[in-house]
Amino acid sequence: MGTPLTPVITEHWDRPDLYTLDGYRAVGGYQALDKALASDPDDIITTVKDAGLRGRGGAGFPTGLKWSFVPQGDGKPHYLVVNADESEPGACKDIPIMMANPHALIEGVIITSFAIRANHAFIYIRGEVPNAVRKVEFAVKQARQAGLIGKNIKGSGFDLDVVVHSGAGAYICGEETALLDSLEGYRGQPRLKPPFPAVAGLYASPTVINNVETIANIPYIVDRGVEWFRGFGTEKSPGFKVFAVSGHVKRPGIYEAPLGITMRELLDYAGGMRDGSSVKFWLPGGSSVPLLTDEHLDLPLTYEAMAEAGTMLGTGTPMVFDQTVSVVKAVTRWLEFYKHESCGKCTPCREGTYWITGVLEKFEHGQGQQAEMETLTDLCGQIAGRSFCALGDAAATPYPAAMKYFREEFEASTHTSADEQFDPIASYIFAAAGVR
């Protein structure tokens, strides 16, 4: 028996009324809030620190530490901003959380705001998913009506206003400083750091920016304690994770499990690969992390093990592709995405994604030049570590990783198109059903 699944955030998702206040309360919701409001805010920060919760948005920065950077008693307003701009290719776990269990997010928002002494919280949701926007707004409205948001919450003297904010289509706004600029009503381009948001973030005031899943963890940690939380995962990657498995698996979907579960175990839960198929390559968490192959299936899905394998846990939403997929085509498609989403601010990302995409498209059509394989490596090197923000680094990731394991496919693409190498129809998920 392998690692068991651990539904926590997802525990009651089969309850049709979970999205309502009553439904959430019926399963113990908002108990953590009572506990939190009765504590010293600093103790909550300490609890989250001690729990070792790491940011679930991709970077894995320790959440409690991030909170502790907010200067207290500085006389300035503090803000909590929830990054609900989930747009990373492959990431599909925050949107489900917001649609299924929005009150876990709201309860987390209230507790976090109380801890960092923020009287204003913003939930920045990507605009392309109105159904998440309305669910969260509904939860905020119910919480407000129940006195869980507003003035003097539950007699604690703590005031909080929560605003649900719709984005409008820009992957870059997942970058926290770009998100702040966007939330302030500007183009979503990243800001110079320092100053860091914890000191000068939204409206130049101390601001914590956390991912949806990160915040949704908070009520459970506060309610059940550090020991409980650390009972899952590893020393460096404590807790559990809402894994979303997609691709050529039998049962793609949401699987909440402790960090440290292996991809092979997750694959098993997901019913294994579709019939007649095997893992060609997979990515632990989004297109911005280097891909791995079937030789990595037994590695624990932790921040540290993934780093050791030369990749990153990222958003913890594994994408699994089988042998029908052209890696050249996959990488080209991702680069087209980065080119489309590059904000334009810095030269390496703006021009580099433009160039790389153009060259990759030639490879996809079987028209790459042998020498251009090295040029592409150079170009990725000219972006990585030199762009303004992590988007450039992300764009420079897929090609070198793909070359590491699948060089021969790029070589073949100097004369044969991706579609000739790999019949695109074969990779369609509905191919078996004979649908054309």
């Binding site: 068991p4 699944l5 651990t6 539904p7 997802t10 525990e11 998702w13 089969d14 979970l18 307003p77 747009s87 990373e88 290719p89 492959g90 990431a91 599909c92 299924a100 204003h120 605009g127 392309e128 998913v129 109105p130 159904n131 309305r134 707004e137 409205k141 605003v163 719709s166 409008a168 289509g169 820009a170 992957y171 302030e184 009503g185 500007y186 979503g188 459970y220 899952f232 559990f240 894994f243 979303a244 691709g247 050529h248 049962r251 979907g253 949401i254 699987y255 909440e256 839960y269 297109s287 994408m319 996959a330 498609r333 991702w334 995405f337 998920i429 509905f430 059903a433 649908v435 054309r436």
Partner: protein, 212 residues
């Protein structure tokens, strides 16, 4: 068509949500788009006027975000995810089918104004690939045939239920939701089997889970 006084009042209402009014520009532009079916010069000027910033500043914002369209969208916005996961799992075929069925192309509307097609990027629903959106509501796990059927039903005015979301309204209604999210549709179905795939196993296998 100029932005109505009522819409301007609603813009001011949105602006009042924020400590700094300019923060409202994105939802205000959604409202303007809901009014005009596109981001028009009038819409930009109205936002600028309400916020006390220049039309150029609003234009700078409006042109940065892909959801804002300078061409009229028409009745329904149809998105087909062509990012790697959806595209390679069949989104490419879905796109071809949708193009063939409508005669429109990327970021253009059909002549009758019924559909506006867009090759969209990752919609955060990779578990449900290939994904299509109608007025940004999820149409999960589509096939070329099911996608075309959805369009046919929309064209015939039949009721179309989003897979995880409400009954389809139209593009302008969605844009309004993004400006005023309390649209009364929060009870729309939003959780499906794939979202509880792990939970189902945990229950079946009596895993103690997080309560251990």
């Amino acid at each position: 068509m100029p932005i109505s006084d009522q819409a301007r009042a609603q813009m001011r209402e949105i602006a009042a949500r924020y400590p700094s009014a300019r923060s409202a520009v994105l939802p205000m532009l959604h409202l303007a788009q809901s009014e005009e079916d596109a981001i028009t010069t009038d819409g930009i000027n109205a936002c600028a006027e309400v916020l006390g910033i220049t039309p150029a500043e609003v234009t700078a914002v409006a042109t940065f975000y892909t959801m804002y369209k300078r061409e009229r969208v028409g009745k329904h916005h149809i998105g087909v995810c062509i990012n790697t996961m959806c595209g390679l799992l069949g989104g490419d075929a879905v796109w071809d089918a949708v193009v063939e069925a409508t005669g429109a192309s990327h970021n253009t509307a059909t002549a009758d104004g019924e559909f506006f097609l867009e090759r969209i990027e990752c919609q955060a629903a990779c578990t449900h690939a290939p994904v299509m959106t109608v007025d940004w509501e999820f149409m999960d796990d589509v096939t070329p045939a099911s996608a075309v059927e959805i369009l046919d039903r929309l064209r015939r005015g039949e009721q179309v239920q989003a897979t995880r979301g409400p009954v389809i309204r139209n593009f302008e209604a969605t844009e309004r939701t993004l400006a005023f999210p309390d649209d009364g549709l929060a009870d729309a179905p939003s959780v499906d089997d794939k979202m509880v795939a792990g939970l189902k196993i945990a229950r079946e296998q009596r895993m103690q889970g997080g309560n251990a």
